[in-house]
Amino acid sequence: MAEDIATKLKNYRTAPFDARFPNQNQTRNCFYNYLDYHRCQKSLGAKGEDLAPCDWYKRVYTSICPISWIQKWDDQREEGTFPGKI
């Protein structure tokens, strides 16, 4: 599985089609990948495991989410006012 992730990350072009979000509104796609990355970091980090698999979510949310949204959420996380559950 780790090799698949490494190959997937190496061959990354752009965020692929996600069947969970097949329609026009991709807001949730962006938000959920942002959440999944930070949750992945938190849970794998707590277990002391390799954090490389989490990079997939980071690549996807970096591709999809507007830069201003990412900055706003990063600031909110630092302040402790981020609305999502990580």
Binding site: Y12, R13, T14, A15, P16, F17, P22, Q24, N25, Q26, T27, N29, C30, T62, S63, I64, C65, P66, I67, S68
Partner: protein, 230 residues
């Protein structure tokens, strides 16, 4: 792009727009034929000297002018639905670009690999070079590789805007807090113009969109230069 005294659509720059153009020709031809027939019948009815006060009904013609319109509607609906589903096909994009609407300019973000972002302001009329188009040119164009499927995510930072490029058959509302997805493929290299299509304040008419479709190597060189300049 649009030209003076234009009646029809702009030349198609994407496969979807070609389909839409042909469908429009098909539907318009049907409309013209029906209108001509009806106009002829009206003129014929009004200008005849013959009268007949004793025809009460006729089953045959009633059947004809019920079934024939139904058949015509089906002939319009089938190509229409075909294009609708064609536009909704799952595609595998090569590149994702975000177009963010502001008052009163667009900003484009290319963040698949590096963090490239830039603003695209209209060139004021007094600063245009000879041959450039009034109210349509921008200082930085959205450059894309030609013949590659591109995913565009449209949003806004302040009020409603709408990102439209008629020659590609694209229009997508830019809603603050929402990320709207559309996709396109440019069939040929060139410049494709569009304008903001949702009223957004004083300079709504002055925030155009320009897509520059170039071969992939040129796109790579351009993005390298833009990253260095940023």
């Amino acid at each position: 792009m649009a030209h003076p005294s234009q009646l029809g659509f702009q030349d198609a720059a994407s496969p979807v727009m070609e389909e839409l153009l042909h469908f429009h020709d098909h539907a318009l031809m049907i409309v013209i034929l029906i209108s001509t027939l009806v106009l002829y019948i009206i003129v014929a009815m009004v200008s005849t000297k013959l009268t007949n006060k004793y025809i009460l009904d006729s089953q045959e013609i009633e059947i004809v002018w019920t079934v024939l319109p139904a058949v015509i509607l089906i002939l319009i609906a089938l190509p229409s639905l075909r294009i609708l589903y064609l536009m909704d096909e799952i595609n595998d994009p090569h590149l994702t670009i975000k177009a963010m609407g502001h008052q009163w300019y667009w900003s484009y973000e290319y963040t698949d690999y590096e963090n490239l972002g830039f603003d695209s302001y209209m060139i004021p009329t007094q600063d245009l070079l000879p041959g450039q188009f009034r109210l349509l040119e921008t200082d930085h164009r959205m450059v894309v590789p030609v013949e590659s499927p591109i995913r565009i995510l449209v949003s806004a930072e302040d009020v409603l805007h709408s990102w439209a490029v008629p020659s590609m058959g694209i229009k997508m509302d830019a809603v603050p807090g929402r990320l709207n997805q559309t996709a396109f493929v440019t069939s040929r290299p060139g410049l494709f113009y569009g304008q903001c299509s949702e009223i957004c304040g004083a300079n709504h008419s002055f925030m155009p969109i320009v897509i520059e479709a170039v071969p992939l190597e040129h796109f790579e060189k351009w993005s390298t230069v833009m990253l260095q300049d940023a």
